[in-house]
Amino acid sequence: MFRLLTRKLYVFCTGLVLAAGSQFLQAQGQTQDNELNYFLDSPDTSKYAVIMVGPAVGEVNAGRFRQWGLSLHDILTRDYGYSSDTITLLYNDGDDSFVGGERVDGATDREGIVQALSELRGRVETGDQITLYLIGHGSGAEEEAKFNIVGPDLTGIEFAEMLDQFDRQDMVIVNTTSASFGFSAALSSEGRVVISSTRSPSERYDPIFSGYFIEALDQRNGDRDKNNRVSMLEAFEYARANVEQWYSEQGRLAPEHAGLDDNGDSLFTLAPGVDQADGLLAEIAYIDTLVDDTAGLSPQALELKARMQELERSVFILRGRKAEYLEADYWQQMEQLLVELARTTGQFNEQLN
């Protein structure tokens, strides 16, 4: 009940500040709910990725984990503007003697992780975004849940302590390991998006979630709202739905259920969204950096762009208040906004041409 009241209040506040026209509100008008200014989507910030691929049991798993790590590296570089400077790939024992091994920056052992994070700490600025991808096996449950690395395994609590140094950065953790739940729960923190491929300690088999999460990023497959960007929420939704369908097609009960937590309560929501307990931050946590595309625009084009942004925000606000309207009134207002937005976009594009 408290959450619902809070949310409605924010919608109201959003209406009041509309006139300010902050360009950071592009991400669906939810930033006003973001009191502490997490994930402020600004062209001035940088985004970093740390991919940790743990050792694998068996050749099949080893091949799969390696492929996921390399694919992720390549997709972030190709589709999201990352470079080898902003991606750290830790792989198994650090062995890079395989095709594509030049991407490897170190070993997924305790020392390698500490060193990588330490180096990263020296480079990041306030407001930058760090995304950590954990690929491999996990084991144990609750506080004893571990990410299997080379050497002594890492508990969630230990890893959380390592991440404490990034208290001025936005952080996303995508834990795709088996038995990931206990480990992921320990990482939960206010202003942090944590995605776990399993929702309970009893889900212990190697999940297929990781493959679909990477597929969501690949060529922006997960871009549901067609803004040419992929948010963590969109990628999560894409992977979750495909995992569900995969097991359904196999006629099997799913032994894995991914969850997302972004309100810091360690409770993972299976179907997060802007109207759910979790989802608000994940929706504005984009993989890529916002590009400032206003350079060189004519004053008229700038004015049209501002109008487009304002209309988009109005659409999001109206959508957020859908329950308060009669169905017909809602769609009438929505149509007006969308038609105007379409026309304004058309005029803007003509200006560009």
Binding site: R224, K226, N227, Y238, L338, L341, A342
Partner: protein, 902 residues
């Protein structure tokens, strides 16, 4: 809470304390067992022998008991004789010991009455029990319950309930202690309809004395009556674990699992066991061995002329065959000892239902309820049979009455649960059909199911000159347990995927199958015609044979291509005589047997159509509308005896086998598949060749070919091994030989499939496609090949072929996006805007990753099809989620402009 239930709760503590005391005493006594053994009483030894199943020795030992043990010893001896079927001595030992008045020897008299009841002398038994009960103040609990049970059996329900309640009251007063007497109170509760109490009391009785075989078995009987097979089986097994020669439990196991060996064992121990003989007869009848069954039933009636079950089975047979006088005779025999017996009528209703004669089943079920409005099974029978007639509302209402009064009946509760599922389903109607299906199936399957149903109606009604009564109700279940429960009342139905009841068809949703669902629908609708042509009196073999035969008539690539199985069956002389083809279904031990029963039935129909002409087939169907012997039917239609017909069929088969001209090696097993013969059948030998290719296998196959150059499987397996070794040219030679030998072979993997894969590996697209086309000429269950061929045809702008293979893919799996994307592309290519709308609508339902794109595509299709309003609403849905999506914005402006122009 009933007073009994309250008392049970209180008694739990007493039982627990009692159990602890017994355990302590037992431990103390355990050390002295050996010392006591030599001095054990005859009664104790007799009881041990009885418990171990040494009935002859027990009967002797019991009779040696004397003094205070004498009465118990004589009763034990009588029970031991009964276990061996020796009624005479069972009666003698107790009768001789009874003093002048029955009431003076209550327990001996009760045993005597039980023996007499077992011999069908209910009136004599009643007199004895009545004398005991009226002649003494507090008759033993066993006497009361046996008396009450017998009173109920002879139709004196009110008096029965009064006596049975006395037994229950005795328990409530805390005066029943022994496990044996608690068992009797449990039985009393059961007979009173208090099933929950009965269950608790049987539990108490077996805990108080785990060796109480009667309690274990009666408890299991209660479960079995409620269709709870697993608990029933466990109960019988518990008894058999104690005494593997306990006949009632052996019979019980046979009733649960149909195990003939248990019955043979039971009859070896007790050749006069009425229950075993009765059950054996029923098993034989189910397998079509009616003459043998009759002999068993006559034996039962000779032993016990009041055997209600046997009389009801025989009466049902008479009624099924419209032998009214015979039926009336059986009815009169039952009325003589149990007037207006509801259970008797219920059994007959059940028999009619099992024989697909649902209208008659409903009549008998109604009569059973009229005879006893508290016969709750009657409501279940009435409800379940009404459902099979499509009378869902009344059916459900009766099931609810049954459930309210007998919630333990698993069949009733299961069937009601299916109604809960059905409430979430959509109902769709076409001209001749009414269909219940899930919302998902309504969205995705219905666009393809509706035209198929109407095509099957048009084609098959015209061909057979018969219009079934409609609308035909079809229920498509997503959950196979719901399908099974709706079909047979219980959640396990084996490999069946569709069942026709005449006016009602139940199907498993194609979403849970890997098979050609259209072929299944066509097959089932053909049953509607043959069943209704004969008033549901078709024998299964002919009905299935015609339905399979019509698959091939429906589409040339439907039906069963089991040439190799035919060759194997002929070589092993496994073809069944036409007269006993039904036993191929009822006696099938595995999927392969069942599949072959379908295939042979199809062959008989094919033989009739080819050799005698289609009108003779129709004539034969109508013969089954009348009640007569098969010999008469065959004589009238074919002017020959069944044996002569069979001989002709076998000659025809021999010719067919000669034409096929392949050799089936004995080391290969028949192909086997799921789905009732619908679906891909796997060639396990060839699959193994694919997995374990090695030099020795290759050498072995070469030697087989040297031995017999028509060894199809050897060529196929050798070709597969060579393919795995990438010796493509040599592999092709062997696979092409195999294909030429048996071009219609459709097992997995087939020569054509492997050849297509070889050409794919060689990069020869044209030959790959050519072999896939060859494969698809006979194989109806292959989705992937259809998609490859459809894509190739679409790329080549050969739209006719593209449409054909898209349809072939949808016939197997309409739930996959790629086939609908292809069909949508096809629709756009041929400018069929209505079809495009249909496909984009389906894609919208299937899309999980990119709903905005799917919505936009659908809106565009609507716009092209002139459905501006639908287009605008869908584009608004898309833009609501993705307001900056440029393509959608443009479509919105276009739809708004066109709306204004309108």
């Amino acid at each position: 809470m009933s007073s009994l239930t309250e008392f049970l709760l209180n008694k739990r503590w007493a039982s627990l304390v009692g159990a602890i005391v017994v355990a302590l005493i037992s431990n103390g006594l355990g050390a002295q067992d050996e010392l006591l053994e030599a001095n054990d009483s005859a009664l104790y030894r007799g009881e041990q022998l009885l418990l171990n199943g040494s009935y002859a020795a027990a009967s002797e030992m019991f009779q040696m008991a004397d003094g205070l043990d004498r009465v118990d010893g004589l009763i034990g001896a009588s029970k031991a004789y009964l276990m061996m079927g020796n009624f005479q001595d069972a009666q003698r030992v107790v009768e001789d010991a009874i003093d002048d008045e029955y009431a003076d020897s209550p327990l001996l008299s009760t045993q005597l009455a039980e023996v007499k009841r077992g011999l069908g002398l209910s009136q004599e038994a009643l007199q004895i029990l009545e004398a005991v009960v009226s002649g003494m103040g507090d008759a033993p609990v066993r006497t009361l319950v046996q008396y009450g049970s017998l009173l109920k059996f002879v139709g004196e329900k009110e008096a029965a309930f009064q006596i049975l309640n006395q037994a229950v009251q005795r328990y409530n007063d805390g005066l029943v202690f022994s496990s044996e007497d608690v068992t009797m109170v449990a039985l009393a509760s059961w007979l009173l309809g208090n099933f929950h109490d009965a269950n608790s009391l049987f539990n108490e009785a077996t805990r108080a004395n785990p060796n109480n075989l009667e309690a274990h078995t009666l408890w299991a009987d209660l479960f079995l009556e409620k269709y709870n097979a697993s608990d029933a089986e466990r109960g019988y097994q518990d008894a058999l674990d104690i005494n593997s020669r306990y006949v009632p439990a052996l019979v019980g196991i046979a009733r649960v699992v149909g195990d003939e060996r248990s019955l043979q064992r039971a009859l070896a121990i007790n050749p006069n066991s009425v229950a075993a003989l009765e059950t054996y007869g029923q098993l034989l009848m189910m397998n079509g061995r009616e003459d043998e069954a009759q002999a068993y039933f006559q034996q039962v009636l000779a032993l016990n002329p009041e055997s209600l079950r046997t009389l009801s089975i025989l009466a049902a047979q008479a009624a099924l065959n419209k032998k009214d006088a015979e039926y009336q005779d059986y009815l009169a025999r039952v009325d003589a000892f149990s007037p207006n017996n509801a259970e008797f009528l219920g059994h007959i209703a059940d028999s009619f239902g099992n024989n697909y004669l649902f209208t008659e089943a409903v009549e008998f079920a109604r009569a059973s309820i009229e005879a006893d409005p508290e016969y709750w099974q009657g409501y279940t029978l009435l409800g379940s049979n009404l459902i099979r007639l499509g009378e869902e509302e009344e059916g459900k209402a009766n099931l609810e009455i049954g459930f309210d009064n007998d919630p333990f009946n698993v069949m009733t509760s299961n069937m009601l649960k299916v109604f809960d599922t059905l409430e979430t389903y959509a109902t769709l109607e076409s001209e001749h059909f009414k269909v219940h299906m899930s919302e998902r199936d309504a969205d995705i399957l219905w666009p393809y199911l509706e035209p198929l149903l109407e095509e099957s109606w048009e084609t098959l009604t015209a061909k057979y000159g018969f219009e079934p009564e409609g609308p035909v109700l079809i229920e498509v279940f997503e959950n196979s347990e719901d399908f099974a429960v709706r079909s047979v009342g219980l959640p396990d139905i084996g490999p069946l995927v569709g069942i026709c009841f005449g006016k009602v068809i139940t199907l498993i949703s194609p979403d849970t199958l890997t098979a050609n669902w259209q072929e299944i629908v066509w097959h089932e609708f053909m049953h509607v015609i043959t069943l209704q042509m004969t008033g549901n009196r078709m024998p299964r073999w002919l009905s299935e044979g015609i339905s399979v035969w019509e698959e091939r008539e429906g589409r040339p690539y439907w039906g069963r291509s089991q040439g190799l199985d035919l060759v194997r069956a002929a070589a092993e002389d496994k073809l069944l005589p036409v007269a006993s083809l039904n036993s191929g279904f009822s006696g099938a031990r595995n999927n392969a047997d069942l599949s072959f029963a379908y295939f042979q039935s199809y062959l008989v129909v094919d033989y009739i159509a080819r050799e005698f002409g289609f009108p003779k087939l129709v004539e034969l169907i109508y013969q089954y509308a009348e009640i007569k012997e098969d010999s008469e039917r065959f004589s009238e239609v074919f002017d020959m005896s069944v044996n002569e017909f069979d001989a002709g069929f076998r000659n025809w088969i021999t010719q067919r086998v000669n034409q096929i001209n392949v050799y089936a090696h004995t080391e290969d097993v028949p192909d086997e598949g799921e789905g009732h013969g619908h679906g891909i059948r796997e060639n396990s030998s060839a699959i193994l060749a694919e997995l374990y290719n090695n030099a020795s296998l290759k050498q072995h196959m070469r030697s087989r070919i040297e031995e017999n150059d028509r060894d199809f499987q050897a060529y196929l397996q050798l070709g597969i091994v060579l393919f795995k070794e990438e010796a493509f040219e040599e592999a092709k030679v062997h696979l092409e030989i195999a294909h030429e030998m048996l071009p219609s072979y459709t097992g997995y993997p087939s020569p054509a499939l492997v050849l297509s894969q070889i050409y794919e590996r060689e990069g020869n697209r044209a030959m790959q496609l050519q072999w896939l086309e060859t494969l698809m000429e006979s194989l109806q269950h292959d989705y992937g090949s259809a998609i490859i061929l459809a894509e190739a045809a679409l790329a080549a702008e050969d739209y006719e072929r593209a449409a054909y293979y898209i349809d072939r893919a949808i016939q197997v799996d309409p739930y996959r996006q790629d086939v609908h994307e292809l069909k949508a592309r096809y629709a756009l290519a041929v400018d069929d805007s209505q079809l495009a709308v249909t496909e984009f609508e389906v894609l919208m339902k299937l899309e999980i990753s990119d709903p905005v794109e799917a919505r936009t595509n659908l809106a565009e299709a609507y716009l092209k099809n002139g459905q501006v309003s639908e287009a605008k609403q869908n584009i608004l849905y898309a833009l609501e989620q993705a307001p900056s999506f440029l393509r959608a914005q443009q479509l919105l402006l276009e739809s708004v402009e066109r709306e204004s122009a309108q």
